[in-house]
Symmetry: C2
Subunit: 357 residues, 2 copies
């Protein structure tokens, strides 16, 4: 069973995933993040149709009528992670060893398989399909939220081996934790501090200023705005923020979900074209489970292309050095041919050029 | 001039290094951290003897008598970084743009060239030479500390391209910032919180518990203890902590410095042998400049081998997933042949085996 250990100085929690335990020789070659890059999928890919028995039994799936659980016929499939960072079984135990705090690693770690097609990236799926991936995120969130042991649920996506993806078949992940993570606590605290002074939502104010200034705006539609944040930590960091204030992404309406799928796909295609298929991570920032109607948070999705390396300076200070000002990044992303970025056909989008260059 | 921008939600500062500005095509290939890996050094390496004019004019150097400033004849040389993250010139200006906070990027960014020998890694230098590198760190710290614009000084080392090193000639770096960085503020706050309850130093207590438990201990000498921290964020994270309580690394005595050089070299050699020359970052954690006799901090050096990738989960939560329990890592590091690890000859150390395996 994984463990949670707390840093006695900073209070940060760390997961010691002892079941995944690695010996020094497992790190040989120093290429962290080697992908099992089984091009074309097929027999060896546990996420390809026909290989359903290579994963733990499925938790849910969107399936064609008449197809069998744990068999082919699905278009989105959710399974437990085979090597979970946190395990779903057992009571939450907390104890101490001398000055050190410990908790057993209770939680959930699931994989959302986004399509049966091994080589078709999320960004080039039909909007309907992206929307169903988002509905799967929400369904799993709402189900896990009922578990009183779980305090926070993070949906994230690692794309490309540099971004930590170990399998190339399109998938996202979800981890539910028995604590409110430090990054989340910081964002909540920041939003509360701002609201105390001004009685307004900091995210709503950011959206307003970005729409007014325009220079960091990438695109927008009826329900969402996409921009490069003022203090972008990495080149081409990109946020998708709903215009309607809501603290939980699960509060999304059907109309908003369609709109979200459309703008998520478009934004990922803009990044794909502009940066030539970059590795990236995206995360959904949402309020903690037990208070997800909290008026002081405002859910959003952040995308971080992995173009540079956080090194000793970033580790020692927490201050990121960003070599591409967000104003310049936004301009590059706006210049991407809208036609190409709006296309749902990978072929046409990959082949097209940026306009104006 | 670089800028400092503050995240309006978390309050974290980001450096926008506009002079290093990168366009999308500069990121092509998606291999962040490509090294100018000029094996053997020679004409193209700005840190090799004879190429002193390829760097900005030197700030200080340990030189043989009769040698000329900015010419060969040095054994440790400190120069300004040619592409500084923060610039030393000008007054510190602070302003706001609507809701956003801004500061111009005043600070210092220096490079400590550790040896004239291009292919001789820090870990395999003579102890005397490592000690002189440490004296250079201290000399630069004490000089920059006089500048009232500077609030914090970080000494760090990036080794290997995966760890962000862009040049392979052995070097460390120093960055002085006009703010107290978030990571440092957190550690200080944690140490203070602990001291408030117990009237003891949290680091002194950690050293005591590690010495008692032994299972995470790697090695120790008269003045320092080396261990894998209880809540190690990454496999083989290793700390070197002075036994004598002192909040600033500049408070080190001559005897302690010799001891520090010895145990730093030995620890890096243990990691080198155990993990087959891993990429790593190390940082010196020390108190902020204006209060560096503050009794509630305890300086130390942390080494983080770069064996795994922090991905979407780590970015979204701040919770690290560590696949090697520190107890196991400590055992592997203890098992390294002490003779090999204590050797100052690269040849003998690289060729030797771990004992007991």
């Amino acid at each position: 069973m994984p463990e949670l250990r707390r840093d006695p100085i900073t209070g940060d929690w760390v997961i010691i995933a002892s079941e995944r335990a690695k010996r020094p020789s497992d790190f040989a070659g120093h290429s962290p993040g080697k992908s099992d890059d089984e091009k074309g999928g097929g027999k060896s890919c546990p996420f390809c149709p026909g290989n359903e028995t290579m994963t733990p039994p499925e938790i849910m799936a969107f399936r064609h009528p008449g197809s069998q659980r744990n068999g082919p016929g699905w278009w989105v499939r959710v399974v437990p992670n085979k090597f979970p960072a946190l395990g779903i079984e057992g009571d939450l135990n907390k104890t101490g060893f001398g000055m050190y705090d410990w908790m057993n690693g209770v939680g959930a770690h699931e994989v959302i398989i986004e399509t049966p097609e091994h080589d078709r990236q999320l960004s080039f799926l039909e909007n309907r399909q992206i929307e169903d991936v988002l509905w799967a995120y929400r369904a799993r969130y709402l189900d896990l939220k009922k578990d009183p042991r779980l305090k926070y649920i993070l949906v994230f996506r690692n794309y490309g081996k540099v971004a930590g993806a170990s399998l190339s078949h399109p998938h996202s992940q979800l981890v539910a934790t028995p604590i409110i993570p430090g990054v989340v606590a910081n964002e909540l605290q920041g939003a509360r501090r701002y609201a105390e002074y001004r009685d307004r939502c900091v995210f709503c104010d950011i959206v307003r200023q970005e729409q007014d200034e325009e220079k960091r705006l990438v695109t927008e539609n009826e329900h969402f705005v996409v921009f490069e944040p003022y203090a972008s930590r990495t080149p081409f960091e990109t946020w998708i923020v709903p215009k309607r204030h809501a603290s939980s992404f699960a509060a999304i309406s059907a109309e908003e979900q369609t709109s979200f799928a459309g703008i998520l796909g478009e934004t990922l295609r803009r990044l794909h074209i502009c940066l030539d298929d970059p590795p990236y991570n995206y995360n959904i920032h949402t309020a903690p489970c037990d208070n997800d109607a909290d008026a002081e948070f405002h859910w959003h999705l952040s995308i971080s292309p992995r173009l540079t390396i956080a090194a000793g300076f970033e580790m020692g200070t927490g201050i990121y050095i960003n070599v591409t000002p967000p104003e310049a990044a936004a301009e590059y992303l706006r210049e991407v041919s809208v036609q190409a970025a709006s296309s749902t056909k990978e072929e046409s989008a990959v082949g097209s050029e940026k306009s104006g260059e």
